[in-house]
């Protein structure tokens, strides 16, 4: 459960954010430069909002009023970068294991390396380096790596924009399945309205820092 209400002053406009997501996928859609990535980075802790408050599962991770700003590494938020940001000097397996918590917080079997690699169908790639796999495979590795940290929220920054149409539709289906299985909220950023319609339980359109709700939370029919 995420509740975020904050402002961030950007060079050309003021970004105003008021989102809340309890389950399912919240899609932020809008043109380039609308502040989508900034929202994700503020939630993850890679950027600091000018003012406001961000809460996850009732725990305040940022509050300008109380001077709270929990470091990124303690926020338990998974982040999938636009260009995947896989570590080029590590194998797929090492990449996936990088963020594995030392102490297991849940006894969930899926959180083993094998479990996650299997879930995302990348087990056969474990000894390859990122430069030796395809874009779609990189995307799966990036997802696996983020999930391995046992996050309470997953942020995805244009995860499918660099892929060809077939890989893209395939991964869209898998993201939906994954979210249903994992039962943590996803926030996904895209500039493609069609993709937003396809994936979003909630859709928020952004333009120059102002948000407009396109679809409210409802039960997904499929």
């Amino acid at each position: 459960m995420l509740k975020a209400r904050f402002q961030k002053t950007l060079p050309t406009f003021e970004l105003e954010v008021d989102v809340s997501v309890s389950d399912g996928i919240l899609v932020l859609v809008g043109p380039s430069g609308a502040g989508k990535t900034t929202i994700l980075q503020c939630v993850a802790g890679l950027q600091t909002p000018s003012q406001g408050e961000i809460k996850i599962r009732g725990k305040t991770i940022f509050s300008s009023e109380h001077g709270t700003n929990i470091p990124i590494r303690n926020r338990r938020i998974g982040y999938v970068f636009q260009d995947y940001a896989l570590f080029p000097h590590m194998t797929v397996e090492k990449n996936v294991l990088y963020g594995k918590p030392k102490k297991r917080s849940t006894a969930n079997q899926v959180f083993t390396a094998v479990g996650v690699l299997e879930l995302l169908k990348i087990e056969h790639l474990r000894n390859r380096y990122p430069s030796q796999i395809s874009g779609g495979e990189k995307q799966r590795v990036a997802l696996a790596r983020a999930l391995m940290t046992e996050p309470e929220l997953l942020l995805l920054d244009e995860p499918l924009s660099a892929l060809d149409q077939d890989t893209r539709s395939l991964l869209q289906q898998e993201l939906l399945k994954l979210q249903a299985q994992w039962k943590i909220p996803f926030i996904l950023v895209t500039h493609d309205l069609q993709e937003a319609e396809m994936l979003g339980d909630q859709i928020i359109k952004l333009d120059h820092g102002k948000q407009e709700v396109i679809r409210k939370l409802q039960i997904r029919h499929n």
């Binding site: 303690n74 982040y79 940001a85 963020g99 430069s131 983020a146 940290t149």
Partner: protein
Amino acid sequence: MEFSFIPIILSLKVAFASVIIVTCLSIPIAGLMVKHEFLGKDVIESIITLPLVLPPSVIGFMLLVFFGKNGPMGKLLEQWFQIRIVFTLAGAVIAAAVVSLPLMYQSVKVAMESVDRNLEMAARTLGAGDLRVFFTITLPLAWNGIVAGLVLAFARSLGEFGATLMIAGNIPGKTQTMPLAIYFANDAGDTGQASILVIIMTVFSFMVIYGLNRWGKGSRRDSRREYRGREG
């Protein structure tokens, strides 16, 4: 006069010691400089780079003033630890380290700056603290630049002449490194000894530059070996 290997051995000793000092200094300094903004950063950076443009005699003179018998550091070391820097091999090491630090530092800094910031951010979102990010992401990805800096610093240390002469002097068997031996052998008319050392230094320096160029090309090819096909 028969050929002596001692200058070669002394030069290697000085170069190794200097490279160790320079590595231990430049990696943490470059790490801090790349990651943080602070007051006086440009001043510190300029001071580190200064030996690159100053004549060696100026550096030698400064070191002499600083580490000399009555210099601030020289006095301290002499009184507390009974260590003398002037006219010892330690002096030669310090001279070599001061002139090769800028080479290593620049090389390491450029390498660290070119590490994709997204990768460091990704490591942070995966729960890594500053030190873990530095040792598992920044340092390994800057490795090529670090090795290049290391080799350049080694070669520069090996060839250091002016500042070494001023602070360490020219004591055969004690502080007379290869460049000094060449200068003084030639001065004394012993061209045989001078030419052998000249050949050794030239061949070595050539190999360093050649090796670095080859290796640079090789690693660029590696990074271009991106995955192609499969999706198409």
